[in-house]
């Protein structure tokens, strides 16, 4: 019974995640192209993309290596860009924390913006889901996208700079994320969180090592939490 419903949740996740092929494809291709241009061979580019599996951090590392930054700075900056996945992991823990350790380890590897965003939307809309169902959904969301991301990297690495600039591969990611954010703005507190995060992000964009993202992310989280407290106090009868 649980097994069959878990299976159907896997497929729900799979199909919810399928359109993100349109993102993972171009984004992976772009990484492959840039990696080749930076002088990585196929084995290096593919090992990078498969073991790290974090687009934004990979781009950061490439860029900094290209600028001849010291290795330690490259690592710290790229991991700082990826700090947000630690917060995603924390945010998923109340929903997936009951699962066996090996499943949680696999889920950790698969924690990326898009699996996280889709899963949080799903878990919040259907609070009655069991942990196995949630886990199945989570893995489903990466079912197509992860292999596509890796194949697209390979394609980009092989094609190299023959991919025309007019494809505007750079802007596929912002559009995908904006599309994911809009449906999440369900309450005033969510709106406030997003608004504060954006304002701080634009003000703090000059901070080194991508610290701006971390600072603005946490500012947004605090604003949302505070707004929720204040709004619930106002609304609750005393």
């Amino acid at each position: 019974m649980t097994r069959t419903t878990a299976k159907s949740f896997f497929w729900k996740g799979f199909w919810d995640g399928a359109p993100f092929v349109l993102v993972a494809g171009p984004f992976g291709m772009l990484f492959g192209v840039l990696a080749t241009e930076a002088g990585l061979n196929l084995v290096e580019a593919m090992t990078f993309t498969i073991t790290v599996f974090a687009g934004a951090a990979q781009f950061t590392a490439l860029q900094l290596m290209h600028e001849q930054a010291p290795t330690l700075i490259v690592l710290i900056s790229a991991l700082a860009v990826n700090l947000r996945v630690a917060v995603y992991s924390a945010s998923l823990t109340p929903y997936l924390g009951d699962a066996p350790l090996w499943q949680r380890a696999c889920a950790a590897y698969m924690t990326v913006d898009q699996s996280y965003a889709l899963s949080i939307i799903q878990f919040e809309t259907e609070p009655a889901m069991t942990t196995p169902q949630r886990m199945a959904y989570f893995f489903g969301t990466t079912g197509i996208v992860a292999p596509v991301w890796m194949l697209a990297t390979l394609f980009g690495a092989v094609m190299g700079s023959r991919i025309p600039e007019s494809w505007a591969l750079d802007f596929v990611l912002p559009i995908a994320f904006l599309a994911m954010i809009a449906p999440m703005l369900r309450t005033t507190a969510h709106l406030i969180a997003a608004f504060v995060a954006i304002t701080v992000a634009l003000t703090a964009a000059g901070l080194p090592y991508n610290l701006g993202l971390i600072v603005s992310g946490f500012a947004g989280m605090m604003a949302g939490a505070q707004a929720e407290l204040m709004l619930s106090r106002k609304g609750a009868p005393k």
């Binding site: 290795t71 991991l79 995603y88 992991s89 913006d113 750079d170 994911m180 949302g224 929720e228």
Partner: protein, 112 residues
Amino acid sequence: MTEAGFDPVTLWIVIIGMAVGSFALRFLFIGLVGNRAMPPWVLRHLRYTAVAFLPALVAPLVIWPTATGGQPDLARLLAALVTIAVGLATKNVIPAMLAGAAALYGLLYLLV
């Protein structure tokens, strides 16, 4: 292209360091905290993780796109607005993405 290559040792240190570091970041909470209860104030903050981090990640990319060397770009800005508008109107990810992509390519074609 060969002269742009990195020293292989440095490159592999970065690759291995990032693989280990990224996994550690992701495993930290879900693996180590697991099903232990977290205090309400932590949970309250975590509810706003997605709506804070994703916009913060995207906002600078929209205003200062990498492809134009950081110069604000009308096509990209309008495409972003279309995506948000359709997303808010439909509450649905897919139409928002498709509208945004259509707007981007349409405007790039018209404006360039």
